[in-house]
């Protein structure tokens, strides 16, 4: 390989040396106005171009050198005072050269002067040159020769407004000439491939060919520059002819390059008006051609064009750009049997992008694109290609980004069907994208139907899908996902209670399918969403009271019971307990005693049966006490039962300290600091005394076990409760009782066995300070406190 390039360099150097050598003699002949010699040496110089040994880029170097020399020769030819031969004779004279390649280079050179002299119609000369150049059938040499022809004729085409335009020469001739040259060059270019024979297409050959592509493409560029090529001519002549060549050459590299070239060099407006013709070529291309890129670029250009001015939009509609594009994509996919799924999907993505940019108002188009994509996907047993997945995600994300509104996407009937074709992982990713889009835009999904569709879309997150590998799930990702779902539930909202209830039912239906791992995340959102509805109803209650109201808090509470009940499968008793308590509170607010009672019952059952952990018990009991304290809906009997239960539970906690704290907390159950709250001072005192007893017992146990008493914190805490109730006017709490307690604490603190504890000391000190403070405040409170002797 290395030797190959070395040899090539050597040959190139030899070629250049040859050119310089003959060019030197040619210059000498030119200086002495010796036409015969000049022709002889120039032909010899051009013979260096007959080499077959060089790759295109090195051959190009040779070509450029001769090109420069030919320029000099041309200016000599032009001046007939120097050689005394008319241009017509010169045109014959150069054709005497025995070798075809030098002959034709010289002929082209003289031909350009011939046209300039206007002694013959430009069209005739051009035609002759184009025809004669067929003599070179070697691909590389032919391409360069014809590119030379294109180069020298460029400014001599009988274009409109050109000096070469005349009665005999019309722009049609110019177009005809360039088209002809293009066709021949393309044939040569394509032949480079065939020359190598099948099965031996190496990368190097491909590379060499692509080095030459611009020579061919140049012709299209020239065509686009011809003034006279207006839309009419482009439509009638130029495009059909070019496409014919493209299709017939049956070469994938050429087809790809040329299609792209057409798209890039001609104006957008032309493309739009000839869309049908242009597109009709696409399905006819070779199956290996990268049509998707071609079409994507076309659509890109068109959508940019559409974006450039609003005036052109009607044109798009007029030519039915969308349906044509959509049609051709279908056909291309059909024609290219081997096209990978990723290709087909990419095409759809492009079309979708086009649609979104050009017809943002036509959701039916968007849906149509998705629909045809589904059709394609359904033919593929299983989508495994990562890139294809990526494209599907892009396909699905595009409408979201465009409309910034999931609601729009939800109206697309094919949207979920596309999602069905994603694998589980990607499906989740997509679902996350959807949720994030909703979050970002604060889109509110307000109808049950949409919610139904939405949950259908994100079902990858909502439930386990068959075949999913559960072990592979990343815990953190999973949490993240489920949290998102939970957040999403809050975005579903409708002012109409009836609709809202429907939404809740749907969400429930879907979330219930989620299995034990997901429920803890979703249920609470759902419960709170439902509770919100309850509160909303409460607000309305004044207005609507009737038998046939479809949505009543009662119904919702029934639903809630079922929802929370589902947590038992998880099981997650702590969460369930909290939710029951929340519901109870809501029921309380709705004045539904039985319902509230039922919820409490459920909570207690859970406490008894499910919550075994002592710490959890402590938390739970405090929650129960707190909630129960706020209940005002219960009749005496129910309330007694519940408070009794609660106190009972408190006293049965494991640790003494916990018992103590729970018990003194229970005291609040009997003293609601409210206008018509229960104020049962006796039972309060009972609780506090009991707490004190437990505290004592705790102290003794500590003594016995460790030889030293624990801190006096519990006592101080109880003291605070005493002071609270004392202040609230509980007759059962007397100042002497407080004094006694303070006394007790002091004794305990001073006893030897007590470990000094700065926290409880400080606590005590500030408590005493508080009493002092209240005393000094004066008034009713001050008087009351005055009775406490410190």
């Amino acid at each position: 390989m290395l030797n190959g390039t070395e040899d090539e360099d050597k040959w190139l150097a030899e070629g250049i040396a040859g050119i310089q050598h003959y060019a030197f003699f040619m210059h000498r002949a030119l200086d002495s106005n010796n036409l015969r010699e000049a022709l002889k040496y120039s032909a010899q110089m051009l013979s260096e171009l007959r080499t077959s040994k060089l790759p295109p880029h090195k051959y190009y170097e040779l070509y450029m050198r001769t090109f420069d020399e030919l320029k000099i020769l041309e200016s000599f030819f032009k001046d007939d005072s120097k050689h005394g031969v008319s241009v017509v004779d010169l045109y014959e004279l150069v054709q005497h050269a025995g070798n075809v390649l030098p002959r034709l280079y010289l002929l082209c050179t003289v031909g350009s002067i011939y046209i300039k002299s206007k002694e013959a119609p430009a069209k005739e000369v051009l035609k002759d040159l184009g025809e004669m150049c067929r003599g070179v059938q070697h691909p590389i040499r032919g391409l360069f020769l014809r590119s030379y022809l294109a180069q020298i004729s460029r400014d001599k085409l009988p274009d409109i407004g050109s000096e070469y335009e005349g009665d005999a020469d019309t722009v049609m001739d110019a177009v005809e000439f360039v088209l002809q040259n293009f066709t021949e060059m393309n044939k040569l270019w394509v032949r480079m491939q065939q020359h190598q024979g099948p099965g031996r297409v190496t990368e190097k050959q491909e590379k060499e060919r692509s080095e030459l592509q611009d020579l061919v493409g140049k012709n299209l560029h020239v065509l686009s520059q011809i003034e006279g090529v207006d839309l009419e001519m482009y439509k009638e002549t130029v495009l059909p002819r070019v496409l014919e060549q493209v299709v017939n050459c049956k070469d994938d590299l050429a087809q790809y390059y040329l299609m792209d070239c057409i798209i890039q060099v001609f104006p957008d407006e032309y493309h739009l008006q000839t869309l049908e013709t242009l597109l009709s070529a696409c399905p006819q291309l070779q199956p290996t051609v990268d049509v998707k890129t071609v079409l994507s670029r076309l659509m890109d250009r068109l959508s940019n064009y559409a974006a450039s001015s609003a005036d052109v939009l009607p044109e798009f509609l007029q030519v039915e750009a969308f349906s044509k594009l959509s049609n051709v994509i279908g056909k291309v996919i059909e024609a290219q049997v081997d096209m990978a799924a990723v290709g087909a999907i990419t095409l759809h993505v492009s079309l979708l992008t086009f649609t979104l940019r050009v017809h943002p108002d036509r959701l039916d188009y968007v849906d149509q694109v998705l629909g045809s994509c589904v059709k394609k996907l359904s033919n593929i047993p299983k989508l495994e290609d990562r890139r294809a997945m990526k494209q599907v995600v892009a396909l699905l994300s595009a409408p979201l980004e465009k409309y910034n509104d999931i609601v729009t996407a939800l109206t697309l009937s094919n949207y979920p069907r596309v999602m069905d074709h994603l694998d589980i992982g990607t499906n989740k990713v997509m679902a996350m994208v959807i949720i994030q889009s909703i979050m970002k835009n604060y889109s509110c999904i307000s109808t049950a139907d949409k919610v139904e569709v939405l949950f259908e879309l994100i079902k990858g997150l909502i439930k386990d899908i068959d075949g999913a590998d559960v072990d592979e799930l990343d815990e953190e990702d999973f949490k993240e996902e489920q949290n998102s779902v939970a957040r999403l539930i809050h975005m579903l909202y409708n002012d109409e209670p009836e609709e809202m209830l429907k939404i809740i039912c749907i969400v429930r239906k879907h979330t219930m399918a989620g299995g034990p791992k997901r429920l803890p995340f979703t249920v609470s959102s759902l419960v709170f969403s439902a509770l919100q509805l309850v509160r909303q109803l409460q607000g309305l209650e004044g207005d609507i009271v009737g038998e046939d109201v479809p949505v009543t808090p009662k119904k919702i509470f029934q639903l809630l019971t079922q929802i929370i009940d589902s947590l038992s499968a998880v099981p997650s008793p702590e969460l369930a307990l909290r939710l029951y308590l929340q519901c109870a509170e809501a029921a309380n607010d709705c004045d539904l005693e039985h319902v509230a009672y039922e919820f409490f019952t459920q909570a207690f059952v859970l406490y008894e049966e499910e919550i075994a952990d002592s710490k959890a018990q402590v938390t739970a009991i405090h929650l129960i006490i707190g909630t129960l304290q706020r209940m005002n809906v219960f009749g005496v009997e129910n309330r007694d039962t519940l408070t009794h239960k609660a106190t009972g539970y408190s006293a049965r906690l494991l640790k003494k300290a916990d018992q103590c704290r729970a018990v003194y907390a229970c005291s609040h159950l009997f003293w609601i600091d409210d206008q018509d709250g229960i104020k049962d001072g006796e039972r309060v005192l009972l609780c506090l005394k009991r707490a004190l007893r437990i505290a004592n017992a705790a102290q003794q146990m500590a003594n016995a076990a460790r030889g030293s008493s624990g801190p006096v914190t519990l006592f101080v805490e109880i003291l605070n409760k005493y002071i609270y109730f004392f202040e609230k006017g509980n007759q059962q709490i007397t100042s002497s009782a407080i004094e006694g307690l303070i006394e007790l604490i002091n004794t305990e603190t001073q006893s030897d066995s007590t470990n000094p504890d700065s926290i409880s000391d400080a606590f005590l000190a500030s408590t005493l300070r508080y009493i002092q403070f209240q005393k000094q405040k004066g008034g009713v409170v001050g008087e009351k406190f005055e009775s406490i002797k410190l």
């Binding site: 014959e92 054709q95 025809e131 067929r134 003599g135």
Partner: protein, 300 residues
């Protein structure tokens, strides 16, 4: 010494000149010794008028048995060296026997001479026209002086001039169809044509058109055939594919061609052929030879 020299040298100089020598067209003529001289150009049926001047070497007298001038058309076959076939022989007596002392001029005229054949200088044969002046003498050899002139005959363009069109090939390998626009060309003509490739299964490298001249001399078992390639003109570079057509445009003026001569005086023929040669990458040559006719038109 001088005497000796004088003995072998002819005692007089003879000059032959044409009456319209100055205005008459001169064309190059290759002599036997390889040198090219300019010679006067005639065509058939022309009057050949001129003057012979005999100038005795100073102070000598030339005795003679008469002076004559002959116009000879000769065909000389090289393998039969020394034998000339005179197909034309005209004689004019210029002087009766006598003596010459001083320069004397004799006008002569051959009117409407029939010269059906053109001067030709080939590989194995030469056709030439000469004016031969002979001063006959007794006992010593005659004094002879020759003057070449060239004859070219012009023909009107043929009324029928069909194209040459032919399809040839090697089965399943190469099929081509070629066409030359005419079968008869004048010397400054252009051969225009096309080669159409119907089937190409071999890797061609290039294609040439050759102009070949076939000169056959003698007859029967003594026929000598000599073929020369006068032109090699590359028509195509590289390998064409099926359906490709390659143009031919070959200007004949740069080449030294003569009209086609058929059976000149039963002595020789000169024919022209177009040979289309296709060369493949292994340098194998495939060719098809096709006779065409050359003729001469009057140049204006």
């Amino acid at each position: 010494m001088n005497y000796l020299v004088g003995a072998f040298k002819p005692p007089c100089n003879i000059f032959i000149s044409f009456a319209d020598g100055r205005s008459r067209k001169q064309v190059p003529l290759k002599k036997e010794n390889g040198k090219t001289v300019m010679a006067a150009l005639f065509q058939s049926q022309e009057n050949i008028v001129g003057e012979v001047v005999i100038e005795p070497i100073h102070g000598k007298k030339v005795e003679h048995n008469g002076v004559k001038i002959e116009l000879l058309g000769q065909i000389e076959l090289y393998f039969d060296r020394g034998n000339f076939y005179d197909f034309t022989s005209l004689v004019r007596e210029l002087d009766v026997p006598g003596e010459l002392y001083e320069r004397k001029a004799y006008p002569f005229e051959f009117s409407t001479v029939e010269m059906p054949y053109e001067s030709y200088n080939g590989v194995n044969v030469r056709l030439r026209y000469i004016l031969k002046v002979t001063v006959s003498r007794n006992y010593v050899s005659n004094i002879v002086e020759c003057q070449d002139f060239v004859v070219r005959n012009y023909t009107p363009p043929p009324s029928i001039n069909n194209s040459i069109k032919m399809e040839v090939g090697i089965e399943d390998c190469l099929h081509i169809e070629f066409e030359y626009s005419k079968s008869k060309y004048h010397l400054k003509d252009v051969i225009v044509g096309k080669i159409y490739f119907l089937l190409v299964r071999i890797k061609l490298k290039n294609m040439e058109l050759e102009i070949r001249r076939r000169e056959s001399t003698g007859s029967g078992p003594n026929t000598y055939v000599e073929t020369e390639t006068l032109a090699k003109f590359e028509l195509m570079d590289g390998a064409p594919v099926r359906g490709e057509s390659i143009p031919i445009r070959l200007f004949l003026s740069p080449y030294e061609l003569t009209p086609t001569y058929r059976n000149i005086n039963n002595k020789f023929s000169v024919k022209y052929y177009l040979n289309l040669v296709l060369v493949d990458e292994e340098d194998r040559r495939y060719f098809k030879q096709q006779e065409f006719t050359m003729y001469r038109i009057l140049e204006t």
